[in-house]
Amino acid sequence: MQYGAAAEQAWYMPAAAMVAAGPESAVARVERLASESAVVVFSVSSCCMCHAVKRLFCGMGVHPTVHELDLDPRGRDLERALARLVGAAYSSPAPVVPVVFIGGKLVGAMDRVMAAHINGSLVPLLKEAGALWL
């Protein structure tokens, strides 16, 4: 599992990152991050469901890229953007995370991932994205 380089950039090169990320909207950033790896998971470090999703992928032999939103200075914006993408109301008590992108495309929250796995569509997706080899 590789933890997101975006967070590191924001920490070590704040000025440059801010300048570069200034005009970039949160949604755009999300999309950018999502397309950087085969499997991208947006999570929160303390969230147990995110832990479950991570274990699921590890169990399948996949190594996703995890972005911990609580450790990101712009995590709030990202969270809001994700909420809009997923379609959940931000004000709802249920957390938005985990949100999974495979091959740059949005899969969704945990229930979508599970459904995809059960109906057998997850594995082909992973293979397509190059995260799984037979």
């Binding site: 469901m49 169990g59 945990m110 599970m114 109906n119």
Partner: protein
């Protein structure tokens, strides 16, 4: 005895009017004078000295009359008790006689009646003891210098007729004063005493013999007597009431036990479906869910019969397909019900109070474990194509992986929650200890995650069933749903049998054979599966 006499007399004297004393003394002087006069036949000049002249004559006449009457009585009573001879006795007899003739105005000491009245009750059966007692009392009297006790005795003789009730009061008062504690506790004793009183008041004499320092001359009036009687009545009534109350409680307790047993019986038979585990635990949402679930179970049995009938009748796939679709919707309905309850009361679902005990054994996150169900079904749905086999196998594997992931997530939730709740249970005032309310707030947030885990588990179950439906043909799907339904029906029946086990003999599951020859093979295997460890 003498002392007692003196003291009792003195007590009575002090309690009563002061004017009695000088009169008494005067009387004593007067009588003495008269006594001497009767012997010497001299007019009682000294007697007239203190009496007002107007009443003197009448007073003297009455005195003489009463004297004659009293002397005879006194003599009659005193004779048997004449142990000691001598002047003392004659003097006492005389004084007794003279004092017996005392006019009614001198009944100043009404509380002295007891012994004297008892002596003179000719109609009542007097025990020898009483007479001897009275006589012995009389013997002591002459030894007293003052004649007053005798005078008082005489007055009481006068009073015995008009105030018979006082005897009764006297005894009761004595009893009461002598044994205050027993007065209320032993009504029978008092009643016995009251009965004895008209006879001879022997109890009173016994007490005197025992040398009690109790005041014999205590004033007893109607008020006290009434109060005591009321106390006794109240005590009796309260005892009866208490008895009735205790009996009521006992019957209620027995009834409650019976009702509980009935409830247990009914619940075990699946009527209530383990609705209320504890009165406080069942929320309104849970109660509604239980009712809806009961309705769902009725519906379920209808579906099963339909499926059975459809398979037996070898319906066309289209028709059978409709039935299968209905089954699918039936299961979706259940997931809908559960989801709506999960928002308000997830614990009711997670702890499995809605399920029967046997179902609860196999409960995984508030429902069935998909991979377990698939293991059962694979053996039932034997005629499967390669593709179907592969599909089922993949389904089994992916559900296992998903279950594992959810399990691990839940494990982390448990760990996190435990850490939060356990934080600083020992240090009360440490610097790093979060305060109680914030701790609880954090724990509450973490607990809310349980709902999402339950939702995911239910989602997994629903997806598994849908996938099964997709993989299998119509006929196979019908058999699959029938098998699932029958399996759970048998688990519920097993729970019923288990709970009614002590009363009835155990009925083997072999007797529970479902109709339908085609399904024989399918249904024998679940029996074996039930006993294989999952």
């Amino acid at each position: 005895m003498v002392q007692g006499e003196e003291s009792s007399w003195r007590m009575a004297a002090s309690t009563h009017h002061e004017r009695a004393i000088p009169l008494n003394q005067a009387l004593a002087y007067g009588v003495q004078a008269h006594a001497s006069a009767s012997v010497a036949a001299t007019p009682p000049a000294s007697f007239l000295d203190f009496q007002p002249a107007a009443a003197a004559a009448a007073y003297f006449g009455e005195l003489e009359e009463a004297l004659i009457h009293g002397a005879a009585n006194a003599a009659g009573v005193v004779d048997p008790g004449m142990i000691r001879g001598g002047d003392v006795h004659t003097k006492s007899a005389a004084t007794a006689g003279y004092l017996a003739a005392r006019p009614p105005t001198l009944e100043i000491f009404p509380s002295w009646p007891t012994r004297q009245q008892q002596q003179l009750h000719s109609g009542n059966s007097q025990s020898v003891g009483s007479t001897t007692d009275s006589s012995s009392a009389q013997n002591t009297m002459p030894q007293m210098e003052l004649v007053s006790p005798a005078s008082i005795r005489a007055s009481s003789e006068q009073q015995q007729q008009p105030q018979p009730g006082q005897e009764v009061m006297m005894v009761t008062t004595d009893d009461y004063s002598y044994k205050p504690g027993l007065a209320a506790a032993s009504p029978s004793f008092q009643q016995h005493q009251l009965q004895q009183q008209p006879l001879h008041g022997g109890g009173d004499h016994d007490k005197r013999k025992l040398g009690s320092t109790r005041k014999e001359g205590k004033l007893v009036d109607a008020k006290t007597e009434r109060r005591l009687a009321q106390n006794r009545e109240a005590a009796r009534k309260s005892r009866l009431r208490k008895k009735a109350y205790v009996q009521n409680l006992e019957t209620s307790r027995v009834r409650l036990q019976q009702i509980e047993q009935e409830l247990q019986r009914a619940r075990s038979q699946g009527l209530l479906l383990g609705g209320c585990s504890a009165a406080g635990d069942t929320s309104s949402g849970a109660a509604v869910f239980d009712m809806e679930y009961a309705r769902w179970l009725d519906d379920d049995s209808k579906r099963l019969t339909e499926l059975r009938g459809g398979l037996q009748a070898h319906l066309l796939d289209t028709n059978l397909g409709l039935i299968v679709e209905e089954c699918m919707q039936h299961y979706d309905e259940l997931f809908q019900l559960k989801a709506s309850l999960a928002r308000s009361d997830v614990f009711h679902l997670l702890t499995g109070t809605w399920a029967t005990p046997a179902e609860r054994c196999f409960l995984w996150m508030g429902g069935f474990r998909p991979s377990d169900l698939l293991k059962i079904l694979i053996q039932q749905l034997d005629p499967l194509t390669e593709q179907q086999m592969l599909g089922i196998y993949n389904l089994q594997q992916s559900s296992e992986q998903a279950e594992e992931a959810l399990g691990q997530g839940l494990q982390q939730l448990h760990q996190s929650l435990a850490d939060t709740v356990a934080a600083g249970t020992l240090n009360n005032d440490g610097p790093g200890v979060p305060n109680y309310m914030s701790l609880m707030a954090i724990a509450l947030d973490k607990l809310a995650n349980l709902e999402s885990f339950y939702q995911q588990a239910d989602n997994l179950r629903q997806q598994t069933l849908h996938q099964l439906h997709r993989i299998l043909t119509t006929r196979q799907a019908a058999r699959c749903f029938l098998s699932i339904g029958e399996y759970y029906r048998r688990l519920r029946a097993l729970s019923n049998l288990w709970s009614s086990r002590p009363c009835e003999s155990f009925i083997g599951t072999e007797s529970v054979s479902p109709p339908g020859t085609e399904l024989q093979t399918m249904h024998h295997q679940p029996q074996q599966n039930q006993y294989s460890g999952f």
